[in-house]
Symmetry: C2
Subunit: 508 residues, 2 copies
């Protein structure tokens, strides 16, 4: 579900002023000499073709949890990628759902650091793509440079492959990474990580992560301007289906019935409409589930300040164009739209499905209809409390028969501004000449709470130079050779990960 976070960032950063310092000339950070850094840069360049090839092969092997496609296979592949990159130990961790992967690399360093990967990708329809989504072709994209187009290119295989390339490059120059690494990967990120906590809390895995000073997921964080926005958290999310059926209700027809009988037979479809209608205000914009705002923590003064900075440093027209909207809800001004984006919980309809869905009409009274829903949660809401409140609300309003089928979700996540994970990012970006700003919270979600919440409570974030587009959409791509000023291509992204590991080591 990480697309949202990346989209937020891009929306916010387009048009922002950017430093003129070139990434490739970024100065060395702590504990690596200039000569060593030059050697690593050369090793990255020498390994470029191997890295590109490694990414292409990974994209050619998609794992899609929603379709139960290549799920054990994807975990095995992830394990192999880790071992190839120098992890001494890697194993598949079973869960009640699809398996995760756990790997460790003890470099004899003082500090342990965590890396979170997702090996799954979003569903795709090849018919919607201009380039075959599993061929991962490298294409000249005018104004961008050379990009790799394929499902998962930016979300998240490209950035993750760049991180692994950093380890390959260090090994090539005979250097051990400056920190010890723990890798945890899941295959259910795109279905809201229903079992990732089982990976993290596995008795083999938990003690390893507990040693880590923090954890990141590699990502392509740059806007076209070069700027990087560092989010200090992300909303939680719950994905669920609300299913209205005659079977459960005890009213309406046991099978689809001729619609003429509506005059005397109850309709599960109208029942669902009425239930849905009770969940939000009439404009559809504010949750109306009882007690929904009980635990919502208002933005702090610092968060309000960061919202103001975001509004001032970004371009509203570009944000609207990127979202494809003419106006925000209630015709809000730009700052208010950002404040709402970072601070407000949502109840969203992803899809409506039921009855006759083909061309034209069919005179039936359907026995069963459903709505696909996602909830976004802000601190201090929790997944479990929200699910309980939703069920209580439905029951109280006469919809207790409607099934609430939760398929995934997790709590909001927050990471302190003064944590190593964040401060090391700021240092690397500054050294690389990439302008950086802080942002209170992604409106999109990622399962950071698995790390930032109990029992681990370690700082967790996203990090990575680089650029891509189209996560969850057709023609997803990841920038390989950058023609965009101040935006890193694959090799510079890889060097950014090297620098980040040294920065973490220096701060520990």
């Amino acid at each position: 579900m990480s697309e949202g976070s990346m989209m937020d960032r891009r929306l916010l950063l387009q048009g922002a002023a950017a430093s003129a310092v070139l990434l490739a000339q970024g100065c060395a950070t702590a504990q690596v000499s200039t000569n060593e850094r030059t050697a690593i840069t050369k090793a990255i360049a020498s390994g470029h073709n191997d890295t590109v090839s490694r990414l292409q092969q990974w994209i050619a092997n998609p794992s899609i949890a929603a379709e139960n496609r290549n799920m054990p296979g994807g975990a095995d592949y992830m394990k192999k990628l880790a071992l190839d990159a120098g992890f001494q130990h890697a194993e598949v961790i079973p869960t009640d759902g699809h398996p995760g992967v756990f790997a460790t690399m003890d470099n004899g360093a003082k500090t342990w650091f965590g890396i979170y990967f997702m090996y799954d990708v979003k569903q795709f329809d090849p018919a919607e793509w201009t380039s075959p989504p599993l061929e991962a072709r490298v294409i000249d994209k005018p104004g961008f440079g050379k990009v790799m187009m394929g499902r998962g290119a930016v979300n998240q295989k490209g950035p993750q492959t760049a991180f692994l390339a950093a380890l390959h490059a260090l090994r090539a120059v005979g250097k051990k990474p400056p920190v010890n690494l723990v890798l945890v990967a899941e295959g259910e990120e795109e279905i809201a990580s229903p079992h990732f906590h089982q990976v993290v809390q596995n008795p083999k895995v938990l003690p390893a992560i507990q040693k880590c000073v923090g954890i990141i997921i590699p990502s392509a964080s740059q806007a076209r301007s070069g700027q990087v926005t560092i989010s200090l958290g992300a909303k939680g999310a719950v994905e669920l289906e609300l299913v209205s059926s005659a079977e459960k209700w005890g009213r309406g027809p046991a099978q689809d019935l001729h619609s003429s009988q509506k005059a005397r037979v109850d309709s599960p479809a109208w029942h669902l409409v009425s239930a849905l209608n009770s969940l939000v205000t009439p404009d559809g914009n504010t949750p109306a589930i009882e007690g929904w705002f009980e635990k919502v923590r208002p933005l702090t003064a610092r968060e309000q300040e960061l919202v103001t900075i975001a509004a001032q440093s970004t371009n509203e027209s570009e944000a609207k164009a990127s979202a494809g909207v003419k106006r925000w809800i209630d015709d809000l001004d730009y700052r208010s739209s950002i404040e709402r984006l970072v601070s407000q919980p949502t109840v969203n309809i992803q899809g409506l499905v039921g009855g006759y869905t083909g061309p034209g009409g069919k005179t039936i009274l359907p026995t069963r209809v459903l709505a696909k829903i996602d909830l976004r949660l802000v601190p201090n809401m929790t997944r479990e409390d929200c699910i309980a409140k939703l069920k209580a609300h439905l029951a109280k309003h006469g919809f207790g028969d409607i099934d609430v089928n939760v398929s995934g979700g997790y709590d909001p996540t927050e990471t302190a501004e003064d944590s190593q994970v964040i401060q090391a990012q700021l240092a690397v970006l500054k050294a690389a000449g990439a302008p950086a700003s802080l942002y209170p919270r992604n409106a999109g979600s990622w399962p950071g709470s698995v790390f930032t919440g109990p029992p681990l409570k370690i700082p967790a974030g996203q990090f990575g130079l680089g650029y891509g587009q189209g996560a969850h959409a057709p023609d997803e791509f990841y920038l390989i050779e950058s023609a965009i000023p101040k935006v890193a291509g694959l090799d510079a992204v890889t060097m950014g990960f090297v620098d980040y590991l040294y920065e973490i080591a220096a701060r520990s």
Copy 2:
């Protein structure tokens, strides 16, 4: 949409007492001698295999308007069937949609009579059938006899083929039908007859129908008990889609957007839910569109009497089992459920479609969603007035942007109890020993108003002995050789049509 009417009948008639007189022994009606009648009966038996074969070939050639399947072809086939049955003139009548067919047979009789056919059938999914739906196999069905299973078998190709077989049989014995005939056929019955009025009002067709004393559509009207319920009308119907889109609304995303943006972007899906919710009472059972009941004519004393008879002569448990329901809306008693069925207009959701409809979830805020709706109208509501009221209601409540895409529909239809069309039916059924009762109005719909409304204003109804099941559903079948006491098989049905034409002639 004729399924509803047949379903009503069966629901109402199951368990009713039935006469012991065998159909095959029904006495001759006016103007045909006993000898002649015997000869015709023999001719029907001789032609039986040809009739079965003719029906099988017709079923093998389905026309489905909703899928634009074999539409000009189906009209040509219909024309050929008419010419083969002895119509001297037959031609395809173009419309703004799919074509109709018009045929005449001048037998030098005093009286002209109309026959209405539909050459289209409902959509089907072969995977849901136990017998291939286009092979029209004749199958032994325990407790029923030999049935033909195929799409359109009972709705309406079987009864229509039996009517044509009556003409073939009369020709075989050298007799001209006792009335002159006008045949009008359409290929859009299953999409609510959006262009049938253009067939009927075609300058070639209208004067011919104007000469007719009445018109029927052949149908399989018997319940398993043998009883026939004659409906004195049918509800009108309108099929439409309500489409909520960002494009039309000017709010929400131009394309599907990441759902994290819900916090500041309007949702066409919630907009549709709110609009739908305004159309009915919270229980979904009574239309709440402004002015909806303005033209609704309450049941007459005679109609109330017929409702009471229907409630007394039929079995509630069987009616509930047939509809697949445990209780009627509001836990109504049986008579009240029938009163509501015949007297109340409805707003029904056939289907909900929009956004992500595949397996699992997908974190999008859809740009466009729609509801498939049918409206059932009672006298004196009209299609045009209802569409106008629906649009006015939506506009008044802030949903003026929601598209109302009407795909078909027509006014309610009523035929007087004392009309020839009805009285001739009662006489034939009495002579055939099939118990008959009158019913105020089918809750299902057929485009009878094209005939009963202006400019024609001729009596119109459905008629035919015989039995079938599964209109609109898998394993649709039509009874060919009856093993059910008092229920007619194909040959007795055919003789019933012969008798009906003589009865019409005698009453003119």
